[in-house]
Amino acid sequence: MMPPHYFLLVAALLFAIGCVGVLIRRNAIVILMCIELMLNAVNLTFAAFANESQSMTGHVFVFFVMTVAAAEAAVGLAIVIALFRRRRTTDVDDASLLRW
């Protein structure tokens, strides 16, 4: 049988990789993908704890996280398209109008 820690460790590593990806990449689409990666890592943790405590509540949370991820991807990609139309770029460093 698999030790329950294994899934938590893989999820933690995936979350950290996604986190680093958000910080070091400048392409807005890749940043959105790294956010999806982090949400997936959290989902995996929820499923691992649900399995450990034999309670389905964790699965309900995964369901809602997927809903939020779908909404976030749709709005985020629409913003990327709008940005590309105005500036001909998807580099987040070129979209600094709202920066201090």
Partner: protein, 223 residues
């Protein structure tokens, strides 16, 4: 335990083979055929030498975990967004396999249908629509922030590992005592439509708001 040794040896061997493949690709980028042949031959030889490991759950779970972490790294380091999207699909499939290991069949199904089916098609569509080239690379700009982010990410992963390995005594879980419906659509639906009904309806509101927002944002001109 004998079998555990075999499993660990096979997994470590496969990791070494993939590292060797990466080294060949970096040192001689033109020799893709040679590197691919080395990868395939190494993997086949390892499997032929350790046939017992293929029957164990640990081996497959370890292999899926390795594939998940490797594909996540490729998403972050590959300069071409198109390749990143394809590796994200690999990663999502690996997570779906993990859901199967964790008795969450319905989650595995909707992971593939919603994530790999719907969201990733959206990502692929946008990448192809904008016709993005591998324009930035990892060395273009933002040097100090990059190294700081990698160091902090490593520290963060270490912190999470420490928390996971030192958490309190866990309840012992015995796969034999699971309720028969654990992880099925029937059980999840029962929870969603009774205890979490309000959150479920709120999620529908969120989706319609996201849909209208996406249409408005992507419109060429508002009037």
């Amino acid at each position: 335990m004998m079998e555990r040794d075999v499993v660990v040896r096979l997994l470590l061997g496969l990791i070494m083979v993939v590292v060797a493949y990466a080294v060949i690709r970096i040192l001689a980028p033109a020799r893709t055929l040679l590197a691919g042949a080395a990868l395939g031959a190494g993997a086949l030889a390892l499997v032929a030498l350790n046939p017992g490991a293929l029957a164990s759950v640990e081996f497959w779970a370890g292999l899926v975990g390795f594939a998940a972490i490797l594909s996540a790294l490729m998403i972050v380091i590959h300069p071409n967004p198109m390749v990143s999207v394809l590796f994200l699909i690999v990663n999502l499939f690996c997570v779906a396999l993990f859901y199967l290991f964790l008795n969450a069949q319905f989650l595995a199904a909707i992971q593939i249908i919603i994530y790999a089916g719907a969201i990733m098609v959206l990502f692929l569509f946008v990448v192809m629509l904008l016709n993005l080239k591998a324009e930035e690379g990892l060395t273009a700009r933002g040097g100090p922030q990059r190294y700081g982010a990698i160091v902090l990410g490593g520290l963060f992963a270490g912190l999470l590992f420490d928390a996971i390995l030192h958490r309190g005594p866990q309840p012992y879980f015995d796969p034999g005592t699971f309720a028969s419906g654990f992880g099925t659509a029937r059980e999840l639906g029962g929870l969603l439509f009774t205890r979490y009904l309000f959150a479920f309806e709120a999620a529908s509101l969120l989706l319609i708001a996201a849909m209208i927002g996406a249409v408005v944002l992507a419109k060429r001109r508002l009037r």
